[in-house]
Symmetry: C2
Subunit: 228 residues, 2 copies
């Protein structure tokens, strides 16, 4: 059964990168990249990620197994425009996705076919529509919201996500681009409930996979005063 998943590496304070670097030509010199590199270092160190990129080395580890699982379970991807812009050149002729990728954008553009099973299709009528297209293309596998963080947040806020896996890296950045912000549009006494369905512990990252249950009202309890 196709479900819609997302996974993101975040710092202990919930940032997937440092503070926004407004000039993309200077991205590597900014704090945004420094934070992003720090929270994704475990991925770079994983053998399964390197294999997909045609890079030797890396660790065979729980972390690597998780990367392999993500690639194996995704039948199609949904991606934000900013992530696509940043990745288009470095991903090269044979991007690591090996599946159809639907890019959410305001600017229409022709499909970009690539080698190895990847294609980039531009979708201009919103993330829900891109998810529908990806679902139809996923061939029974999962639809993975590939990122960036703001697209994952939008999908969560719209109730489109079935599962969210956070790779919680033991570092505090203090400031940066956060996954979970007021832009989710929750009411002042409203939350999104989740259930942890898998926790995997490693020295460099704690992986927590959640099932997304949906929005619910926050209610006061009686702080145990009636003994019940």
């Amino acid at each position: 059964m196709t479900i819609v998943t997302a996974q993101l590496s975040v710092s202990l304070d919930g940032c997937y990168a440092g503070p926004l670097q407004s000039d993309p030509r200077d991205w590597l010199n900014g704090a945004e990249a420094a934070g992003f590199f720090r929270v994704t270092r475990w991925v770079i160190d994983a053998q399964a990620w390197r294999e997909r990129q045609g890079i030797s080395g890396g660790e065979r580890s729980v972390n690597s197994d998780i990367v392999a699982e993500q690639f194996a379970s995704a039948g199609a991807y949904v991606m934000g425009r900013r992530m696509m812009d940043g990745g288009e050149v470095p991903w090269g002729d044979e991007p690591p996705f090996r599946a159809p990728v639907f890019v959410v954008t305001n600017r229409p553009k022709n499909v970009l076919p690539r080698e190895g099973g990847t294609s980039f299709t531009y979708v201009t009528d919103g993330v829900a529509s891109a998810v529908d297209l990806a679902r139809a293309a996923a061939n029974g596998k999962n639809v993975a919201i590939a990122g960036g963080g703001s697209l994952v947040r939008r999908a969560l806020g719209l109730g489109l996500l079935d599962e969210l896996e956070l790779h919680i890296v033991p570092v505090v950045l203090g400031d940066g681009l956060r996954l979970l912000t007021p832009e989710l549009g929750l009411g002042s006494k409203e939350g999104i409930d989740l259930t942890p369905i898998r926790v995997l512990e490693t020295p460099t990252v704690t992986h927590v996979k959640y099932r997304v249950e949906g929005r619910s009202e926050l209610v006061l309890d009686n702080r145990g005063r009636d003994g019940s």
Copy 2:
């Protein structure tokens, strides 16, 4: 050996309460309380917490064991003034601490002795001084930063914490009082490194205990391109 610890229940987005309720007389009706009650519900449900408050019922569970461990390991507490103001009346004649509590405040006040081993000593020269006093009073047990969140943040920012345990509750609040904020005063390419030393998984909360390693510079890696 005495170490300085802190633990806090937080939402998946790192909030220990909803957005600040500026009128304390209306606290229970505000979003701050609604968020605080939600993320601390697991504590109220724990048998060990209820026993300390003289309340019957509650669950014997991993969660309860963690509450019991916290009480047993603390030889003295350091507390913020706002938490003390909110707790002074409800804690009553025999507060649950059963140990000396040092309250960080700007307003000098006489020591408040209480039954059952608790006393409240007001400290006006800062959190580091309060930690020193608590260390001397802890009798070989740990110094626990009891909260609230802003005091835990200050202790972390000042490098006073040896361990931080987060009880990560599977709910997204969207907005609220955050533990880890820019007020930590980190540089733009600086992080605080931690090491997860214990992860305990329950359906209602994921407990992750970290050793605090200290500040370090965020550095770029080569994204695996040299194969190393």
